[in-house]
């Protein structure tokens, strides 16, 4: 029975990873950059909700909405100020290092405003836990909400990309920026939109993450952020279903690793997965292969 509980917890954590991984994978697919600061946008989202709900006492839904707006604006601002000028830089390391700088910046702004002590985040979910099999399996409301939100968002995102003009433009830009521009697609606008969507999802992921694991510090986002990147790579970077599958699998692996191998080694196991995937199939489960032309 504990196996099932672990599995459900794994899927729940994996759903959060999947939401974060979507942001990574979309940005990587379209702007060809690793947005190292993505994890910290999650943290900003969680702090926003914390401020609105716990400090100001407003209802959770307001907190979530404000967090989404704040993160969307933040994501677009970061892209505009820090990444866009470097898009044509001669070294691809330049933008990665800048992203690391942004990550530090966000963490330290939060540190100055909120301090280093961990805040206890009040869950936004007020649902009774579901008890199955005579109480041997206990599914919390957070788990249910997390998994459901992830599924709904995934479906919505797939529809958006496949059925709308903006979504098709995103696909075109990720295939070939130059050609997309020639076809009259607003490349800059599309990239900005990608950052906006990715950051909005990060806000939701932040709130869900902190509802399930309620301690919130300025560093809350960085480890889940990196793990979600692992998930994105695992599933095949640039692929949206890949991010979903990679996220869920990674969540399950982490929870099982914690439960059956060693709780201290859970992170190492997650990173071990990344290494194995990259060495065996560098393009991930659903990724595409690209070769340099001579």
């Amino acid at each position: 029975m504990s196996f099932l509980t672990y599995l459900i917890n794994g899927i729940s954590l994996g759903s959060v990873y999947a939401l974060i991984a979507l942001g990574y994978t979309m940005v990587y697919g379209i702007a060809k950059m690793l947005n190292f600061a993505h994890g910290d946008v999650i943290m900003i989202g969680a702090f926003t909700t914390y401020t609105i709900c716990s400090t100001m006492g407003l209802p959770p839904i307001v907190g979530v909405l404000v967090a989404v707006v704040v993160c969307t604006v933040l994501g677009m601002a970061i892209e505009k100020i820090a990444y866009k000028p470097l898009r044509k830089a001669s070294s691809s390391l330049a933008v990665l290092i800048t992203a690391i700088g942004i990550s530090y910046l966000l963490q330290n702004i939060a540190l100055i405003i909120f301090g280093a002590n961990s805040k206890s985040f009040t869950s936004i979910v007020s649902m009774e836990p579901i008890r199955l099999a005579d109480g041997q399996i206990n599914i919390t409301g957070e788990t249910v909400v997390t998994i459901l939100s992830c599924i709904v968002i995934m479906i919505g995102l797939m529809l958006f990309i496949n059925k709308t003009k903006a979504g098709q433009a995103m696909l075109a830009v990720s295939e070939d920026k130059g050609a997309a521009q020639l076809m009259g697609i607003n490349v800059n606008g599309t990239i900005a939109l990608t950052f906006a969507i990715g950051s909005a999802l990060a806000a939701i992921a932040g709130v869900l993450l902190c509802s399930a694991y309620p301690s919130l510090t300025p560093y809350t986002g960085s480890m889940p952020g990196i793990k979600a990147f692992v998930a994105a790579v695992f599933g095949g970077i640039g692929s949206i279903p890949g991010a979903f599958i990679g996220g869920i699998l990674l969540g399950i692996i982490e929870i099982f690793g914690k439960a059956y191998i060693s709780s201290q080694m859970a992170d190492a196991i997650v990173f071990g997965v990344l290494i194995v995937v990259l060495l065996v199939k560098p393009t991930g489960l659903l990724g595409k292969n690209i070769q340099e032309k001579v």
Binding site: L93, I100, G101, L105, I226, Q264, F271, I275, L278
Partner: protein, 357 residues
């Protein structure tokens, strides 16, 4: 032509060594006359540790051109293997002179970190760019995690290894050398300012001479254009691995030095996690990617500044972050480069005009 070339690079190197030696002499005078705060005194060895780390990472980032985010992992390997040896020797051979013990500890730390560099480098260096960066980060975190569950105990039967506190098969009067998350306590304080400076000079010597040699040219050729380097018969894997493992070994040396400056050595996210790796990267970037002297100076200034300006301590990382972003934009954004070039041209024109008139 030849003479000019060699003397130019060695003159440059001499300036670098000179800066270190002058800094050493000044510090020794201050120490001798007692004109130095205890805070500053405590900073001397760490400063050298960071300088060695920055110089060694520059070999990977600046000379080899690959972004490594796991440098602290190699430092961790060096620190724990070196400290393990010293602690073991303190128990097993108490009569051993400290200097000899430290010398061997340094060698062990360097070799172990270098071996890890090769071991990790073989798979990692097949990857490129962002992927390589994230995998080095992953390896760094794995090393830190592994060290945190590593238990090594010593009793009359010898050494015992285990991954939990309880599963170790050690007799009751045995002692722990490495005790999991509590790390190593009681490492002899064998380090000192003078030996730190000597190690820094050796690091500089190795890296600077390597860069100005056949091997260094091959490494930089790979950085500049891998396909072309291959086409002129350069063994890409060999030289990438060489640069990566030398860089790792030197980080190991820094780790040994770090460990022997502390009474308790633990692997925390703060000292051996990826935050540390990124911190070293910040030194390298701000000092100038590829500039060995620059990264050394940046390491010293960026470590000293917040300590001297204690009031700013809360803002120190914030300032680092802003400086890092601004520097990257200033140095790499095509528009900024263009603007700078135009400005330079204008300045030159202005000068020329003045000279004419």
């Amino acid at each position: 032509m030849k003479k000019m070339n060699i003397s130019k690079s060695s003159k440059n190197n001499m300036i670098t060594y000179g800066i270190v030696i002058i800094a050493y002499v000044v510090m020794q005078i201050l120490l001798g006359t007692g004109n130095i705060s205890s805070l500053m005194k405590g900073m001397l060895v760490p400063l050298c540790v960071y300088a060695i780390l920055a110089v060694s990472l520059n070999l990977t980032v600046g000379i080899l051109g690959e972004l490594s985010l796991g440098h602290a992992g190699f430092m961790c390997v060096g620190a724990f293997s070196g400290a393990f040896f010293s602690k073991y020797m303190v128990i097993a051979a108490p009569g051993m002179p400290g200097a000899l013990r430290f010398f061997i500890a340094i060698l062990i730390g360097a070799v172990m970190a270098g071996l890890f560099g090769i071991l990790i480098g073989i798979p990692v260096l097949r990857l490129k760019g962002d992927y390589l960066a994230i995998v080095t980060l992953a390896f760094g975190e794995i090393i830190k995690n592994l060290v945190n569950i590593l238990h090594v105990g010593l009793d009359e039967k010898g050494l015992h290894l285990a991954f939990t506190n309880t599963s170790i098969k050690m007799s009751e009067n045995g002692t722990f050398i490495i005790k999991g998350a509590q790390g190593i306590t009681g490492t002899p304080n064998d380090s000192g300012f003078t030996i730190s400076i000597v190690l820094l000079l050796i690091t500089l010597f190795i890296v600077l001479n390597l860069v100005n040699s056949r091997t260094g040219r091959a490494i930089m050729a790979i950085r500049d254009n891998t396909i072309a380097a291959e086409s002129v018969g350069i063994n890409i894997t060999k030289y990438k691995l060489m640069a990566f493992s030398i860089s790792a070994a030197l980080a190991g040396v820094a780790g040994v030095l770090y460990a022997h400056n502390l009474s308790t050595l633990t692997a925390l996210p703060k000292n051996f996690g990826y935050n540390m790796s990124i911190m070293i990267l910040v030194f390298v970037v701000l000092g100038g990617i590829g500039s060995i002297r620059g990264s050394m100076i940046a390491a010293v200034i960026l470590t000293l500044l917040p300590e001297l300006l204690r009031g700013l301590n809360n803002y120190r990382m914030l300032i680092y972050a802003i400086v890092l972003i601004v520097m990257m934009l200033f140095n790499w954004a095509p528009k900024c480069i263009e603007w700078r070039e135009r400005l330079m041209a204008k300045l030159k024109l202005g000068k020329a005009a003045k000279e004419v008139s």
